[in-house]
């Protein structure tokens, strides 16, 4: 059954509520299309009040990162509010719906579509930043119908992070193709790892995104080129699901552990020999091990193994948007422009190891001298963007659930591909 966005009104009499009467009087036709850009932003110091929201985590050091901006803009009252990450999307949704959204908000690069498509954020002013200075996937994630609505702040993609000591003991080299993947993980087990791979097994949106990554590596795409149809029941999707399943059926990964929070302790303890994960771990493993220099002695990184479609990763991270209803868009965009500068993004890296979305920041010695990040940089150059349509988060979550059933051999990859296609079609693309 397809849930049409323009289904005819079949309204049972007797439940005529005030709210619904108001609804029937309106329609989507009343919405106005956004203009292509906002007014240009000058170089004068920002003034007035700007309220900024961000999820805690990567934004935890924002006050320090913005200290110099505050000094340069003494007449600006910049109010930073950190919201618990688990509640961030819901709180932002509620605030926007209630007309009380912040002037500036951090958006998750990979799932910002539901906000951007709803017109909750203003187009990026002409000349504010150079879109070409960012990793292509990071910038494109904020572009809808040719109009940019958000500015990238930090970016990440997954790469293969493995125990170099186990690989050395087994005489194994990191895999470059899918065919070499399972033998490599088996070799890590031979070199001392309990399991070759620690797959994050929350069986949620992140697993759905993993499968999507494998889909790209298999040469497929989740949507048609025109973005009007889901293309999830394809031979490439079956290949992606089969590849992911092989981690579990080959007994190099456990379908029940570790979960996200356990993945680093498992890796440090040697219960797993590798992770396909983001760059944040590089700065965290020393703390988990309780030993400075542990990471450089025990860890190596490599780009993801390539399938028939190449070694493709997925872009994710954080971007900044300015609310369409902001009372102070001029100053808000100045804040965003500052956050997009290479120096600010390096400061953010130094504070919390968030990797810059602007490519020139990677030339800074603080990042350039960290060899374990090379694989991530290489992977960021070949990273795709998740579908920028509103139902994507729900479909990716369901794909994670379908993958769980495949990993636990409750259904075949073919059945899972058909199921996720039917589910996606029942939701539509959000563009009808």
């Amino acid at each position: 059954m397809t849930r049409s966005r323009h289904a005819s009104a079949r309204f049972a009499p007797g439940v005529a509520l005030v709210a619904v009467l108001a609804l029937t009087a309106c329609g989507r036709g009343a919405e106005s299309a956004p203009s292509s850009t906002s007014a240009p932003v000058d170089d004068e110091p920002a003034t007035g009040t700007v309220e900024l929201w961000a999820p805690d985590g990567d934004a935890a050091a924002l006050d320090d990162v913005l200290a110099s901006f505050r000094e340069e803009n003494p007449d600006l009252d910049l109010q930073v509010t950190l919201v618990p990450a688990d509640e961030y999307t819901t709180k932002l949704q509620s605030a926007v719906a209630g007309g009380a959204g912040p002037d500036v908000a951090q958006l998750y690069t990979e799932s910002q579509a539901q906000f951007l498509a709803g017109g909750a954020f203003a187009p990026v002013p002409e000349g504010l930043v150079d879109g070409g200075s960012f990793f292509p996937g990071a910038w494109e994630s904020g572009v809808l119908d040719g109009i940019a609505y958000s500015v990238p702040w930090y970016s990440y993609t997954y790469a293969l992070v493995y125990r170099s000591d186990f690989a050395q003991a087994a005489g194994a080299k990191p895999p470059t193709t899918w065919d070499e993947t399972i033998p490599f993980f088996e070799a890590l087990q031979g070199g001392g790892a309990g399991k070759g791979l620690g797959a994050d097994v929350g069986w949620d949106i992140y697993n759905g995104q993993d499968v999507t990554q494998y889909l790209w590596q298999a040469g497929g795409h989740p949507m048609s080129d025109d973005g009007l149809e889901w293309t999830l029941d394809t031979p490439e999707m079956v290949d992606a699901l089969t590849y992911n399943r092989s981690f579990f059926t080959s007994a190099i990964a456990d379908p029940d552990a570790p979960g996200f929070l356990d993945s680093q302790p498992y890796f440090v303890e040697g219960r797993t020999g590798a992770m396909m994960t983001g760059p944040w771990v590089i700065g965290q493993l020393d703390d988990v091990a309780g030993e400075d220099g542990w990471t450089s002695e025990h860890v190596a990184t490599a780009p993801l193994p390539a399938g028939a479609g190449g070694s493709v990763g997925a872009i994710a991270g954080g971007s900044w948007g300015v609310g369409a209803d902001s009372d102070n868009p001029e100053a808000s965009w100045k804040v965003v422009r500052h956050l997009a500068e290479p120096g600010t993004q390096v400061a953010q890296y130094e504070a919390l190891a968030s990797l810059p979305a602007v490519r020139s920041a990677w030339d800074d010695p603080a990042i350039a001298h960290e060899p374990l990040l090379d694989a991530f940089f290489e992977q960021l150059e070949d990273a795709e963007t998740y579908p920028q349509v509103e139902p994507w988060a729900q479909i990716a979550t369901q794909l994670g659930a379908e993958m769980e059933a495949v990993a636990k051999e409750r259904q075949t990859p073919e059945e899972a591909a058909a199921a996720i296609q039917a589910f996606a079609e029942s939701l539509g693309t959000g563009t009808e």
Binding site: R3, H6, E390, T397
Partner: protein, 312 residues
């Protein structure tokens, strides 16, 4: 015809009636004044959201409509039709039924057994036991769920104890057949204290002399329990069963914190499904799902009152 005959009552009676009338009006106003804070909270946080949810459930309101929530299409009962065609929702209805069918009697039995023990068996330190048994009700569920998560991990406390006596423990939270019992157990653990306190109050209201008379007539403990205590306790049983049924029909914290509905969706309740839909920006759909819960609660509670109310 005089004024008296026209009014149908003598002047003295009319005067008293007026006095009663003005006193009644004062009492009525006073009652509304006392009720006003509750009504304000009820209207703001219950009535208006419920009516709004009903309205939203008839629309295709989604995350992309946030700036223009009233500029959506009315889709009639499409959301409800979609829900019942969604295998996940139907599965979650079944999961919720299991929560109710197993959780309610288990919680009631545990609470009743402890209340009985406190009322008759345990003489010393009764207050201490009562406090200890009630503690789970007031304990922070997030902290408890984290402890349970560690306890039931594959390498958790439970399996370590099992290993120490030579048994290999299973994967409690990763096995679809075992995760549900663990989640229900947490629900029972959190709620038996409430049931116990209510049953204890009910048991203490049963007149002691009735028991003594029955004992003198030769009735044993079980007969007195079945023929005296239980019938007199029926209003409490009804109250506890309705409260617990409403709780388990809306169960959210336990599966959310312990398993987030997994593995393979085996512990996802309808309330958790509703929450997930809300997170996806499916506001029309999540409103419809929440109203399904509301209807279920109303129907089941009504049925319980009809079936369990004391016959006069």
């Amino acid at each position: 015809m005089t004024a008296t005959t026209m009014s149908g009552s003598p002047p003295a009676v009319r005067s008293a009636s007026r006095a009663r009338g003005s006193g009644g009006l004062r009492r009525s106003i006073l009652a509304w004044v006392f009720l006003a804070p509750f009504l304000a909270v009820f209207v703001t946080f219950t009535a208006v959201p419920t009516v709004a949810a009903l309205g939203f459930s008839l629309t295709d309101l989604r995350g992309t409509d946030l700036r223009h929530p009233f500029a959506v299409d009315v889709v009639g009962l499409d959301n409800y039709a979609w829900l019942f065609s969604d295998g996940r929702f139907v599965r979650d209805l079944g999961n919720t039924a299991v929560f109710v069918a197993v959780g309610v009697p288990l919680t009631m039995l545990t609470g009743f057994a402890l209340a009985l023990a406190l009322n008759t068996g345990i003489r010393r330190l009764r207050g201490v036991y009562r406090t200890v048994f009630f503690a789970p009700v007031v304990t922070n569920v997030v902290a408890v769920a984290l402890i349970w998560q560690y306890a039931f991990n594959t390498n958790g406390t439970v399996n370590q104890v099992a290993a120490s006596i030579g048994f290999a423990g299973p994967n409690w939270l990763g096995d679809p057949g075992l995760a549900m019992p663990v989640v229900i157990l947490l629900g029972v653990w959190r709620n038996f204290g409430t049931a116990m306190v209510l049953f204890l109050a009910g048991l203490q209201a049963v007149p002691e002399d009735v028991h003594e008379a029955a004992a003198l007539d030769g009735a044993g403990w079980w007969r007195r329990l079945w023929h005296i205590t239980m019938p007199l306790l029926m209003p409490t049983i009804l109250l506890v069963s309705v409260l617990l049924t409403v709780f388990y029909l809306q169960v959210f914290d336990e599966p959310y914190l312990l398993t987030d509905g997994g593995p393979l969706g085996s512990t996802e309740s309808v309330a958790l499904y509703t929450y997930h839909q809300f997170g996806f920006g499916q506001f029309g759909l999540s409103s419809a799902a929440s109203l399904v819960i509301l209807v279920l609660v109303a129907v089941v509670s009504f049925a319980q009152f009809r079936l369990l109310r004391p016959r006069t």
